[in-house]
């Protein structure tokens, strides 16, 4: 039995001008908060309602240098505790909009408005939807984007995992400990995931992989009952109880579209890794167009962004 001692932030606010707002709650934001606090920059972290970001949903992280294995939740909890010990300030709020106002940035978050000399956008990315029939209807009734949260509801059940990247394979392995049978469908003929993870899944006793296969439809009544798959042999209906989606991520950049230039895929356009089209706005982690999206790259971005803010404020 473990016990998480991190507190949930307050959403009450006081109106005042700050040197820096950090938007986000995942590793990039937490690293920026640690560095900003140590640089003594007056700041607030507007933590989203998904504390810890996507990293917190990862059952096991095995490639963060210096730590052999740790759950994503514990890793981000440690990061937050460390940032708070240096004076980082957290508020629970979702950023709704960020617009330039003279040489400042005006940030609306829930019912509060903040004015800041600089902003670090570290709002990460949310799981992407596949957009198939039944996906919205059965969300929370058999369709899930979080194996860590929802795996216990599928004990001894048959579930489908959609995807072939690191997240899909890692979370399929976590799910395989709960379910009686797991089918993973991937649209290609090999995994994009790390070979180590791929091999582990291929040798998992209750897992079955269907290559070159896509999900077409999710069917059911009160909950999921079956799925229609497009396979190389044609359309197939498979009876099962749940569907877990890992088909990419959608960057959470909509509130910042009037402040910084975005790429076609929605990520923040960056140069020199963390600089954006607006000189006092910086971006870090999964919101950026940087290719490798890992905890280790996110924390590196966060540190660089805070350092760039420190230089700018001098």
């Amino acid at each position: 039995m473990d016990f998480k001692t991190g507190l949930v932030g307050s959403s009450s606010s006081t109106d005042r001008e700050l040197d820096l707002i950090i938007a986000g709650g995942g590793p990039a934001a937490l690293s920026a908060a640690l560095y900003a606090a140590r640089y003594d920059i007056e700041h607030i972290v507007l933590e989203s309602y998904q504390p810890g970001g996507q990293a917190a949903l990862t059952a096991l992280i095995e490639n963060y240098p210096g730590i052999k294995t740790i759950s994503g939740g514990d890793l981000v909890a440690n990061m937050k505790e460390q940032a708070e010990s240096w004076g980082a300030v957290f508020k629970m709020a979702s950023v709704i909009s960020a617009v330039p106002l003279k040489d400042r940035i005006q940030i609306k978050a829930d019912s509060s408005t903040y004015m800041a000399r600089s902003l670090i956008i570290a709002t990460g990315a949310a799981p992407a939807k596949l957009g198939v029939t039944g996906e919205d209807k059965f969300y929370g009734r058999g369709v899930s984007y979080c194996a860590t949260c929802d795996a216990p509801f599928f004990r001894n059940a048959h579930v489908l995992v959609v995807g072939g990247g690191d997240s899909a394979v890692k979370e399929a392995l976590h799910l395989s400990e709960f379910v009686s049978e797991l089918t993973l469908v991937h649209r290609r003929d090999k995994f994009r995931a790390e070979p180590y993870l791929a091999e582990k899944l291929l040798s998992c006793g209750n897992c079955n992989v269907m290559w070159n296969t896509t999900l077409k439809e999710i069917k059911g009544d009160e909950g999921v009952q079956s799925v229609i798959l497009n396979t190389p042999e044609g359309e197939k209906e498979l009876e099962l109880d749940g569907v877990f989606m890992y088909v990419g991520r959608k960057p959470a950049t909509e509130p910042f579209s009037k402040l910084v230039e975005l790429n076609e895929n929605g990520t923040v356009k960056t140069h020199e890794i963390v600089r954006t089209s607006k000189e006092n706005a910086f971006a870090a982690g999964d919101v950026t167009d940087n290719e490798l999206r890992q905890v280790v790259t996110a924390v590196s971005d966060g540190a660089r962004a805070a350092s760039a803010v420190f230089d700018m404020l001098q």
């Binding site: 039995m1 473990d2 016990f3 998480k4 001692t5 991190g6 507190l7 949930v8 307050s10 959403s11 009450s12 606010s13 989203s48 309602y49 998904q50 504390p51 810890g52 917190a56 949903l57 994503g72 939740g73 981000v76 629970m92 709020a93 979702s94 829930d110 019912s111 509060s112 919205d136 969300y139 929370g140 009734r141 058999g142 369709v143 899930s144 979080c146 860590t148 949260c149 929802d150 795996a151 216990p152 509801f153 599928f154 009160e222 909950g223 749940g242």
Partner: protein, 229 residues
């Protein structure tokens, strides 16, 4: 053997250092048909030791049926957190994993000096003209659950019209089945409609305003309802 590690106990003792007032916790357990009651009692006994502001009473739900009924407790283990004047804020199930974080935050909210709710939420609660029961289904491994659990607890702590129940979905499978919970967090409102996922405080208040005004069917996810009209 202690359930909290030395490090966790030290951390909690530091957190409890910010308590300004007594926090009253009533723990209902029973010996029959409650495999998690013993652990719940042990954790709360350990928490009681970490601050003199923690006033914890342990009650057997069968031997104290009248009190349990008065407190609105209908299953065990149940934990009620308050300033001693009400029983509106409840946690059902063992407070482990991320549920522990929700319980700790609620204890700090109750004994602290700051009002953690946003102004718009306070206005909504002040104008509330009907009773509101918020049942938040959670699991211990769900990092997105504490904001939903804590928001319901904060609203119930502030308003006498609101009751909150944070329910560990695995420990109460019959209740999870009743509301067809297969994903967490899910906030069920007045045993009818629900909000799926961890909503921002503003979104939850908007969803509640619309939901209470229109009273949609029990099949309605307020998040879809808000988006689609």
């Amino acid at each position: 053997m202690a359930l909290l590690s030395d490090n966790d106990a030290l951390e909690v003792r530091n957190i409890f250092g910010s308590l300004l007032r007594d926090v009253h916790v009533r723990v209902y357990t029973q010996k029959l048909e409650c495999p998690t009651c013993k652990d719940t009692e042990t954790i709360l006994k350990e928490l009681e030791e970490l601050s003199e502001k923690m006033k914890v009473s342990f009650l057997n739900s069968l031997a104290n049926r009248e009190e349990a009924e008065k407190d609105g407790v209908d299953r065990t283990p149940a934990i009620i957190v308050s300033d001693g004047t009400h029983s509106r804020v409840k946690f059902y199930g063992t407070p482990s994993g991320y549920e522990f974080s929700s319980l700790l935050t609620t204890i700090i909210d109750t004994g602290g000096s700051e009002e953690p709710l946003a102004e718009d939420t306070i206005q909504f609660l002040n104008e509330l003209d009907q009773d509101l029961v918020m049942q938040v289904f959670v699991t211990p491994a769900c990092p997105h659950c504490p904001p939903a659990a804590v928001l319901a607890s904060r609203m119930a702590r502030y308003s006498s019209k609101v009751r909150s129940e944070v329910i560990e979905a695995n420990e109460f499978p019959e209740l999870s089945r009743k509301f067809r919970v297969q994903g967490v967090p899910r906030t069920v409102i007045n045993s009818t409609f629900f909000a799926e996922g961890s909503l921002s405080e503003t979104m939850m208040v908007n969803a509640l305003e619309k939901g209470l005004a229109d009273n949609p069917s029990d099949e309605t996810n307020l998040v879809d309802y808000l988006q689609n009209g």
